[in-house]
């Protein structure tokens, strides 16, 4: 993730103060997120549903 994209996403998330006071930590967080997302495989079944399963509540 390039610096401009990282800063745009950080500001969109409301992290202006963190960006001003702890820019290295914001950059490290962005890198962690990008690295971990890259390691995940997509589900093998295009119709796979998420866990936990969707359940109708008592109040529906």
């Amino acid at each position: 993730m390039d610096k401009a994209t990282m800063e745009t996403l950080a500001r969109r998330a409301g992290l202006d103060k963190a960006l001003a006071e702890f820019p290295d930590d914001v950059a490290a967080a962005a890198k962690q997120a990008a690295d971990v997302a890259a390691k995940m495989k997509a589900p093998t079944d295009p119709a796979a549903e998420p866990w936990p399963p969707m359940r109708a509540g008592d109040d529906l």
């Binding site: 409301g14 202006d16 103060k17 962005a30 997120a33 997302a37 589900p43």
Partner: protein
């Protein structure tokens, strides 16, 4: 009770079961037990930092009440008069829940968490609140209001986390049992580093109400003890449906100690070798320890079979995406307004969720369901899984590069992702005198079989008799 142990003044190594039995038989005073432990805490905790807050006066007063009740034959339950430590993200009425952080501003809990209520109903006495990694994610850290806990086997080393004080204190004989929480391995990591028994129960088996959340769909509360039998006893006291916890399972609490002394002949054990052989190659002493456990179970009559699951790296990625996305939903407001009140590690780890998309979260949640199916398939072929917990003995706590390198070298996150019960315990000691570990994993709500296999290993190896040399 082992009268010889108490006669020598070694009350601090009494098991939960032995202490409870002796108190019930009026051969051990809960006050004497509490005083012995408080004296040990006073002597050792300045080196261990297991406690954030010791509640000595209240604990001693409760021990006096327990003594009167025991003398009158009025036992509250199976833990009557036995001290317990509570990780400081779990509410104890009248005490602050700090989560080892400035952020919560010392807010005092007005009610006990459900798991604490259940322990008290069983007769346990809360001795204090225990160190954790900040909000169960950021640690070990030296930039927080309290120092990090240390490993009693060697205080220069990390005790594991995030239930650091729980692991350190149980191993050091400061209290015989503690509550921990486990979202990515945080009961089993300190159990592994400190050589005790730590269980992450089936997801939903123990109520999370009154526990500060890290990630809603991954959080578990679990027992930490020095013996397998104590772990089963503690679980029996805290398990059960809570209608006010939306993640609570409807399954009835089980008979967790039912198979403890049953032998393992004919039991099918699936050995997940690729976790430590190829996914994350383990320290050779860890590998040797795992082989020794497998061989020992085989010699006792268990059938061993190799099992393949998805790679650890993929389990880890799914765990991290879900964990950090859910944690961001909780911590976002504070990270926006008070980023400087977090320690650096928590700040970095918690802010990562801000950079994950809804698509990342949903893909991880969909992949999670497929991973659950794969582990379920494996557990239809065998009764229990055997695999690594930590790939290394505990590293030095003050070398952050070592902590960063070894922290992800583990095989615990798969079972937070899938929710299966998983127990970590000692497999032996390294040449450097630090605990090595093994993990047993069972079918949903079949903690009894996990305990059965763990107890078989404990009996064969005597791990319950191995204590750190700290005095």
């Amino acid at each position: 009770m082992n009268a010889g142990v108490s006669a020598k003044g070694d009350l601090h190594w009494l098991t939960v079961a032995d202490a409870a039995a002796a108190i019930a038989a009026n051969t051990l005073s809960p006050v004497d037990l509490m005083k012995a432990l408080l004296a040990r805490i006073e002597r050792l905790d300045p080196r261990l930092n297991a406690f954030i807050r010791l509640d000595a006066e209240t604990a001693l007063a409760a021990a006096r009440v327990a003594e009167v009740e025991a003398a009158a034959g009025r036992l509250r339950g199976p833990l009557h008069g036995v001290p317990v430590g509570i990780k400081d993200i779990i509410d104890v009425a009248g005490l602050p829940t700090t989560a080892h952080s400035k952020i919560l501003d010392g807010k005092v809990a007005t009610a006990d968490a459900v798991c604490v209520t259940k322990l008290r109903q069983a007769g346990a006495i809360v001795v204090g609140k225990l160190s954790t990694h900040e909000f169960a994610i950021g640690g070990p850290s030296f930039d927080l209001p309290w120092p990090p806990a240390r490993n009693p086997w060697n205080t220069d080393h990390h005790p594991g986390g995030s239930s650091s004080g729980s692991g350190s204190g149980v191993a050091a004989g400061l209290f015989p049992m503690a509550l921990g929480t486990d979202t990515g391995g945080s009961v089993r990591n300190p159990a592994s580093c400190c050589g005790i028994v730590g269980l992450k129960p089936t997801y939903g088996l123990v109520s999370r109400r009154g526990v500060f959340p890290l990630a809603f769909t991954l959080d578990h509360v679990g027992p930490m003890t020095r013996t397998v039998a104590d772990n089963a006893l503690m679980l029996a006291c805290i398990a059960g449906h809570d209608p006010l916890d939306s993640g609570s399972a409807a399954a009835p609490a089980g008979h967790y100690a039912a198979a403890l002394e049953r032998d393992v002949r004919g039991l099918r054990v699936g050995f997940v070798r690729h976790f430590h052989e190829t996914d994350v190659p383990a320290d050779p002493e860890v590998t040797a320890g795992l082989e020794h456990v497998a061989h020992s179970l085989q010699m006792a009559g268990a059938e061993l079979k190799d099992i393949r699951l998805p790679a650890l790296g993929e389990f880890g990625a799914v765990n991290r995406i879900i964990l950090q996305s859910e944690a961001w939903a909780i911590h976002g407001p504070w990270l926006r307004s008070r980023p400087g009140d977090y320690g650096q590690l928590a700040r970095r780890r918690l802010m990562a969720g801000a950079f994950m998309s809804s698509g990342d979260y949903l893909q991880a949640s969909r992949r999670r369901k497929e991973m659950i199916a794969l582990v379920e398939t494996a557990l239809s072929e065998v009764d229990v899984l055997l695999c690594a917990s930590s790939m290394d003995p505990a590293c030095r706590i003050d070398i952050s590069a070592d902590v960063e390198r070894t922290y992800p070298r583990q095989a615990r996150t798969p079972f937070n992702v899938t929710g299966h019960p998983a127990l970590a315990m000692m497999s032996g000691l390294s040449s450097g005198g630090l605990p090595l570990s093994v993990q047993f994993v069972g079918r949903y709500f079949d903690e009894a079989t996990v305990f059965q296999v763990a107890r078989a290993w404990e009996k064969a190896s005597g791990t319950d008799k191995k204590h750190p040399p700290i005095v």
